[in-house]
Symmetry: C2
């Protein structure tokens, strides 16, 4: 693709340049930026609606404030593309060759205009309060500005942050970018209040933000650059906490994204070219199986309830599914802690909560897993999606869920390897009342072709897939396939017929089976799709610590990787079949 | 001690009996209950102010509602003694022989009137919302009542819960027990709002709770049983979310606790008998060393800031210390997630945050440790107090901080073994700008007698305390003393002169040293004062997995223990010196 011609943007290489432009040029600039964003995101994928909605506001912010002296913190930072374009990184947008040059999130290694790597929501107010407090300790004078969406506002850290920011007694400016959407619909009392504020031009009887102690300003049209500049100028250099409530339109400038906001929050490459295509035929997947299971139970009148914390799309829980479920579905908004607490309450009252998380976001609750759920043995079913090694951005890694969940007492964390096991585990979990259960749902569906009749209430019983000798391969969850491949390659290279074990339980050790391996095995290897430190394999190694069994653990290292290719990661972690076999052979 | 005479309480064996009493008798009952609580808590220790403050309200709750059909959830449940007395457990209060019969927290195993084991704050609204949702799914009709203090209200889960509870569209009653205190002073915008509401009899311009969508009621005197009964009766069987804001006096009925609330939140046995004693002379402790260090830095004009999330007393950060620090101290209230986010912001702006947590409460933040702090390499100093095996209640165990913290990339978690190391580590951490650092502060101070000159910027370098052979003892942090004892006993029993290693770094492996041990050692043991699963020792074992080294890990199991004696735990975990030596000998 050729570079896009950008008449006004050509003149803007830093925020300083922006301040020299006339109003008409600022609007032209917003059109040029929008065009760049649409073209780039449709080419490589990325956050679409959030960035289109904040173009004018970002222009106004950089027009009024003096970054990098004044400090911006963009919550979740999936709306930072306009900011990147204006802060010396426009080449990543004008030139398709550079589309992958910058991350989709704020990144301090790219520029002094970014303070933090951010990709989880609801952190901006706390981070900004810290920047402001640090400034006060050091005698600085700059403005500190947090930009947070109405969706992110429902997360615990954001609410804790607002409570504290409101009493800071010095300069902090919180901009609530209210586009009336989380990823899906926004939820809760704050959402209703924002609606009331929008409908009444910012004037209501009980104002949540004023109640907390903020000076409150309302901007009815967050795409009117004059209004934005006027209000931002008014609060610049404030000596007390200010909150600006700004109404914007998610997806602004691309009509289909305005009309139908949820599917355009984040899009795959080429989405805009397929708008008129017939929907692809549904293939069976773990998502579709889960949906069917829950729907059937709900229709049968069972007290099942599907629960999501603002990311139903990750599990394929689209609007049709949610509408069908009615009272059997709840989205609590970005509020993972509440989700776990509420699920524990539902379970204790006899309901059947099925609470789904993306692996990276289950990190947003820990004490609730421990205290509300595990300590109380609340029979919650938790589904963990996308767990595993990936080439994701550093903020969205999914390798930490096993160390997080599996070292908490009482939780049964299961790792199905195929559809048959998954269905059996899900059904067992929903129908039992003894344990909190989590299931690590693999990304791609596979089939064993055999009906699973396992009684999962007998905990920590591993399955021997294939009996062999000398080497035992303990392959967890979606790595069972890799276990088979390693077994085959080992056979080919050495003639050894290895034992293959499918542990199925992440949270416990099958002592009898592991003990039994001692008689005719000298090497045990573990394969897990996640972090080694604190993970599954180390528990096996500890079991064999006092024996002569040699044990190797394969998985990812304790590190934040950042868009690192799978090939590089698999080589680094010795996770290719060849490297695994090589490591085994060094022990034989 | 003899049983206390309780004329009215004698007639009350269940909430049903309460409903038959006249108003005068209800007040007499409150006096009798208060007397029992004062006597018991002064005898065995426990939560004092919170329980004295809620006697009348608990009587009124049980008078109006029908527990266990109607459901109560007491937040943090450190105010549940009156509830226990009224729900069949008064023998634990009238008869000193039974003082240890019931836990200090709600406990479903004791009675159907308790739904959850609860000891961490800010969970009640979410749990109650779940009970209500479960009820609605199952077609129940009972009332669901959450009782939450103003201090607990600032925690993220509570705020997420309120946002969701407000839109439940069915019966839920939230009672905010506002005694104008957290454990120390309450903090933030909500606290200011509550003050304004109290000063204006519940009428203000911007009401936080009404803004969220709750029907709001104010009770000016939460010790007036008639008023309490009247308001509770009014909202009973509501079909929508209601919030009652009730003003009570923490410590009510015991004047010193009313005048000086913080030290009477939780008291040691015999505290009331020592009220007029001169304060005990201050002995040097890790707490006093930390305070002196921070004060000196602050007085020297450095941008250091001591940070607490509502529990300054745990670290000895008393009012005098806080006042001296002025701007160099901040208590963010019960808001651990915000504390970590804010500390990360302060550190990134050049400040020097020293953020202290009790081990059990660092669990209340995880994603912030990972995303706000670790991913951004924010040079925060975190002090973790009380980490280790104890006979604590199941809700307050301190054995999980190593698995929690040490499997997150980038964090340097240090385990000092003596004053000299602690001072050196603290100073290194505060002055460096590369790493987020956590320090596991031992409970009891010890001295090596040698100045520590280690450069802790060279990460993961273990210290050989004593060189020996055959057996190496890797003793982490406050277990170094146990390491010495085991070494001595092993020498006595077998003549073996074991190597003793002080790893100092929890978060990494000293590969060179461990490799070196292979030449003249056949057994390595690890000793850690915390959970084995996901902990420190497993990493050592993994290192030796491919070698012939035998490794044993000693620490606590993955379990919630509940007031289990240390003797029992040490036997169960093989942590007595004798059992450890026995286990070592079985491998020689």
């Amino acid at each position: 693709m050729p570079e896009t011609i950008t008449n006004v943007l050509d003149k803007v290489n830093s925020p300083e340049d922006l301040k020299k432009l006339e109003m008409g040029d600022l609007y032209k600039l917003s059109n040029e930026m929008r065009e760049l964003i649409i073209k780039k995101v449709n080419t490589i994928g990325g956050h679409f609606g959030p960035n289109l909605g904040i173009v004018e506001a970002t222009i106004a912010l950089h027009y009024v404030f003096n970054s990098p002296v004044d400090k911006f913190v963009f919550d979740v930072s999936h709306q930072c593309y306009p900011h990147k374009i204006l802060t010396g990184r426009k080449d990543g947008y004008t030139n398709p060759d550079n589309y992958f040059k910058y991350t989709g999130y704020t990144a301090p290694e790219e520029t002094r205009h970014d303070l933090f790597k951010i990709g989880h929501t609801s952190t901006s107010v706390s981070l900004a309060t810290g920047l402001a407090k640090g400034r006060d300790l050091l005698g600085g004078k700059e403005n500190v500005v947090a930009v947070i969406g109405d969706g992110s506002l429902t997360g615990g850290e954001a609410l804790e942050g607002l409570n504290n920011a409101a009493t800071l007694n010095s300069n902090i400016i919180i901009i609530v970018n209210d586009n009336d959407m989380s990823i899906a619909e926004n939820q809760g009392g704050i959402c209703n209040l924002l609606t009331e504020l929008r409908e009444n031009n910012g004037v209501v009887k009980d104002n949540f933000f004023k109640a907390l102690g903020f000076e409150y300003h309302y901007i009815a049209d967050g795409h009117n650059i004059e209004n934005l500049i006027e209000t931002f100028s008014k609060v610049k250099d404030t000596d007390h906490p200010v909150l600006i409530h700004m109404h914007t339109i998610k997806g602004k400038g691309f009509e289909p994204a305005v009309v139908n906001k949820e599917p355009f929050h984040w899009i795959l490459p080429g989405t805009l070219d397929r708008l008129n295509d017939a929907p692809a035929p549904q293939k069976e997947s773990y998502e579709s199986i889960t949906k069917d299971y829950i729907l059937n139970k709900a229709e049968a009148g069972e007290p099942i309830i599907a629960m999501s914390a603002a990311t139903p799309g990750v599990f394929g829980w689209n609007k049709e599914f949610r509408d069908k479920l009615g009272l059997h579905y709840i989205d609590v908004g970005i509020a993972e802690q509440h989700a776990v607490g509420m699920a524990s309450g539902i379970a204790k009252r006899g309901g059947k909560p099925v609470l789904a998380f993306m692996s990276s976001f289950v990190q947003r609750t820990y004490d609730q897993l421990s205290q509300d759920m595990a300590l109380n043995n609340a029979p919650v079913t938790m589904l963990i999606f996308w767990g595993g090694i990936s080439n994701a951005d550093a903020t969205h890694l999914c390798t930490f869920d096993i160390p997080l969940i599996s070292n908490i007492p009482n939780i049964v964390y299961l790792a199905p390897t195929c559809k048959e096991e998954y269905v059996r585990m899900l059904d067992w979990s929903v129908n039992q009342t003894e344990h909190p259960v989590a299931i690590r749902v693999p990304y791609e569906i596979t089939y064993s072709g055999e009906n699973d009749t396992t009684d999962y209430s007998i905990l920590n019983k591993y399955k021997t897939e294939e009996k062999g000798e000398k080497v035992a391969i303990v392959a967890l969850g979606d790595f069972l396939g890799k276990g088979r491949d390693v077994k085959a390659l080992l056979k080919e290279k050495t003639g050894i017929n290895a034992t293959l074990i499918n542990p199925r339980f992440i949270t416990g050790i099958d002592k009898d089976m592991l003990e039994g391996l001692k008689s005719n095995h000298s090497v045990v290897i573990t394969l897990e799709n996640g972090e080694l430190d604190g993970g599954f394999g180390e528990k096996i190694t500890r079991f064999y610590g006092d024996s002569s069994m040699k044990v190797l653990n394969f998985g990812s290292y304790k590190e934040f990787t950042d868009r690192t290719s799978m090939e590089e990661l698999y080589n680094r972690y010795h996770l290719t079949n060849e490297l695994i076999v090589q490591d085994i052979r060094s022990l034989l």
